[in-house]
């Protein structure tokens, strides 16, 4: 289900256009690394942390913040 959620958001036209996400990337997208690009990574981390690991909002943000390089 959470993989389906990830793919559905990546299908958003504006997002896909801006971050050049194509169908192949969407079909391969998953919650676990490695990630094709940063937007998939961001979204996967949020979904995994919130939906799979049931973390609180603050923890989710801290995990996302760790992606800042």
């Amino acid at each position: 289900m959470n993989n389906a959620l990830l793919k559905e958001v990546l299908r958003d036209k504006e997002l896909a256009s801006k971050y050049k996400i194509n169908e192949e990337m969407i079909s391969k997208a998953k919650l676990a690394p490695p990630y094709e690009n940063e937007i998939i990574e961001y979204l996967a981390v949020i979904i995994k942390s919130k939906m799979l690991d049931n973390h609180g909002d603050v923890t989710v943000y801290n995990q996302v913040r760790n992606l800042i390089r």
Partner: protein
């Protein structure tokens, strides 16, 4: 992979007397059926599930679910209790085995019952001591044979909940009419609750919230960095303030929107309720018209009855009926005889008196007969027509005829007093007065019987009309929603309330639309500000934080749009799937059903309508169709979920009395939606058939989607305390 119930077994549980191995049912994927006639253990079987999942059983006396703790003595087999000796322990248990893709689990609940007296009552709690056992859970790897006990209570609970999640149990476990309550189409929230429970749509809400939180935190962090560097220009700070102000306005507008949406929900419920009342008011008016018509009939009948009763007295004296003379046949005969006798004597006496009279002409013939013309003819022809003899001229006879012709007056007119008290006229008056009744005497009894029949017929008609009025009132009373008819306004007032509620609903809808427009405007303004701010940021702003914010806000916006898109797509799919399921469910029935219509309402939830081809709302569908609507919508909600449904369907008599068509449709469709179903029903039972299945049961026996069919039976001629259920596996 879905969870599959592999086995359920009972030990001394209700009719399921004896050890587990005697009361063991094996099930697999697909449709599993337990056929049982009334009293052969369907609901008791279902109670096994209720015990496992809810620690409850359905009390057949009160039709309510009761906690198992208070029902122990009642649910233990009567036969086992009867056969037990004092201080004996009886085991009463239910055990269920299920498997997922990796493990097979065994869950057991039970108690022990100790008999305290030799004459213990089978139902009296005080005569028995109950020892409840803890929940027992064990599991084994699906490839292995040995079960291992699970002692951790949290793990036990997790395993139990994994079989059917608590929030899904109402959709997975239902009994008879409970189906109708699964989705209440009159409750706006009911269908949305089912959608939220059975689909993953909630995840999109959750994602929208968390991405919004992440974006807000990312923006805050970026602005903190910019502020701390003191490199921000005045214009940047000003634009930032403008954006903050818009964000505050947005928050305020979002709060208003929530308030408008709450009002909308409130007014929608009001409209729905009044819509029903309004429909009911129209329905009531129809009943009122019928009641009025029947009341008028009743009034006429009562008046006719009153008139009949009033006329009963008159009929005693009315010449057309003459009831007063009933039973007087002999009196009339006696009176005639006596009157004749009296008149004979009187005539003789009169004749004797007339002999003494100067005229000497006695006429014993009736007065004035023969008449003068006849007498003259007799003289002319010299023949007496009275005695039919010759009367030659100047003979004695001829002279007598001549004297009669020449008599001065008839004897009748002669004032001759025969008796001192002559009652001839008195008796004559009686005879004359009684004449109308005398002719009726023979028919009086018949006349009374007919009158009684008419009276009875009127009374019957009055009773029937009264019954009809009462029935109409009874039917009418069911149209009153909210119960108290006295406090309900009349139809006109309801209509006025309905119009008022509609106006309020429309106002709330307009408020929502305006608010959404303002929110869109503010969001657009904020996005523009963000774009401007991104250009105005000091050059030494860390790019990674800028990117962090940008990517977070893009995900926030994408999550928002995705939620709306997925929900819209889901509504379309729901409608398509629900209609497919509905048509399949009713395809074996002669009547065609309407169209199930799903619409997104202004607050972003689903409105449901049942319409005809022309788009008119259909009301008054039969109970069978209503239930099929619920099942079709439920199946559609499950079907739109990409992962399908992972739990079994356990249903007791879900379609009782709905007929073969619905049952067949139900089995065919259930198999497509539920990975496993265990259906308990009597509708396939036929006592006279060789295998005890009726025609439909035998059709299902050949159906590939039906995995197993069990038949429950009670051996014949058993006393109540000896009753136990036997079962055989037919398929």
């Amino acid at each position: 992979m879905a969870n599959i119930i592999n086995q359920i077994s009972f030990q001394n549980f209700y009719n399921y007397f004896g050890s587990f191995d005697k009361n063991q049912y094996e099930f697999s994927e697909g449709v599993n059926i337990v056929v049982a006639d009334n009293g052969a253990g369907k609901s008791k079987f279902f109670n096994g599930f209720l015990w496992i999942f809810y620690d409850e059983v359905l009390d057949s006396d009160t039709k309510t679910r009761k906690n198992i703790k208070n029902q122990a003595v009642k649910i233990c087999s009567d036969k086992a209790k009867n056969e037990a000796s004092v201080n004996d322990f009886i085991e009463c248990n239910v055990a269920l085995e299920f498997s997922d893709k990796r493990f097979r689990y065994r869950i057991s609940k039970g108690f022990r019952l100790k008999k305290l007296k030799s004459d213990s009552s089978l139902t009296e709690s005080a005569d028995w001591q109950v020892f409840f056992k803890e929940l027992e859970v064990s599991k084994r790897d699906i490839q292995l044979l040995v079960y291992h006990e699970v002692y951790d209570s949290d793990e036990q609970k997790r395993i139990l909940n994994s079989l059917i999640q608590p929030n899904l149990r109402e959709y997975s476990l239902f009994q008879g009419e409970e189906v109708d309550k699964l989705i209440d189409f009159n409750q706006a929230d009911s269908i949305n609750r089912a959608v939220k429970s059975l689909t993953d749509i909630n995840k999109y809400d959750e994602l929208e919230k968390i991405t919004k939180y992440v974006a807000t935190r990312a923006e805050g962090e970026l602005n903190e960095i910019i502020k701390s560097s003191n490199a921000a220009s005045l214009n940047y700070t000003k634009k930032l303030e403008e954006k903050e102000s818009k964000k505050n306005s947005l928050e305020s507008e979002l709060e208003k929107l929530v308030s408008y949406e709450n009002s909308y929900s409130l007014y929608k419920s009001e409209v729905d309720k009044l819509e029903n009342l309004n429909e009911n008011a129209e329905g009531r008016k129809e009943f009122d018209d019928k009641i009025k018509e029947e009341t008028s009939k009743l009034k006429e009948l009562k008046e006719e009855y009153d008139r009949l009763v009033e006329k009963l007295n008159e009929r005693f004296f009315d010449g057309n009926f003459g009831w007063i003379a009933i039973g007087c046949e002999n009196e009339v005969k006696n009176f005639r005889e006596k009157l004749n006798s009296y008149r004979e004597i009187r005539t003789l006496k009169k004749a004797s008196k007339l002999n003494d009279h100067s005229n000497h002409q006695i006429n014993l013939l009736p007065p004035d007969s023969p008449d003068s013309v006849t007498l003259q003819t007799m003289l002319d022809r010299e023949h007496c027509y009275v005695c039919d003899r010759e009367a030659k001229k100047d003979s004695e006879s001829w002279k007598h005829i001549n004297s009669l012709l020449n008599r001065k007056d008839s004897s009748q007119n002669k004032p001759i007093q025969v008796f001192n008290n002559d009652l001839n006229d008195f008796f004559g008056d009686i005879q004359l007065g009684a004449q109308p009744y005398v002719g009726r005497i023979i028919g009086i009894e018949e006349s009374i019987i007919r009158t009684r029949e008419k009276e009875q017929s009127l009374l019957d008609k009055i009773t029937k009309v009264k019954e009809k009025i009462n029935n109409l009132k009874e039917e009418r009373s069911h149209l009153i929603i909210g119960g108290d008819e006295d406090n309900l306004s009349d139809a006109r007032q309801i209509m006025a309330q309905y119009r008022g509620a509609l106006t309020r609903l429309q106002k709330a809808e307009e408020d929502i639309i305006k608010s959404r427009t303002r929110i869109d405007g503010l969001n657009e303004g904020i996005r523009k500000d963000e774009n401007e701010l991104s250009r105005m940021r000091p050059q030494d702003t860390p790019k990674e934080y800028e990117f962090h914010f940008e990517i977070s806000s893009d995900l926030r916006d994408a999550a928002q749009r995705t939620k709306i898109r997925v929900f819209d797509e889901m509504i379309l799919k729901l409608e398509k799937m629900a209609n497919q399921h509905f048509q399949n469910l009713i395809k074996h029935n002669d009547l065609s059903g309407g169209i199930l219509k799903f619409e997104k309402n202004p607050i972003g939830t689903i409105d449901f309508k049942y319409i005809d081809e022309k788009g008119n709302e259909v009301t008054g569908a039969s109970e069978g169709f209503q239930r099929m609507k619920v099942l079709a919508v439920l199946m559609a909600i499950i079907s739109v979920n990409p992962n399908g449904y992972l739990y079994p369907l356990l249903a007791d008599a879900p379609l009782s009395a709905f007929g073969k068509g619905f049952i067949l449709g139900f089995f065919e469709e259930t198999e497509k939606v539920f990975p496993q179903s265990i259906i308990l029903l009597k509708d396939l039972y036929d006592k006279e058939s060789d295998n005890k299945l009726n025609k439909l049961g035998n059709e299902l026996l050949k159906n590939k989607s039906v995995s197993s069919i069990y038949l429950n039976q009670i051996p014949e001629n058993l006393k109540q305390i000896e009753v136990y259920t036997e079962h055989i596996k037919i398929k």
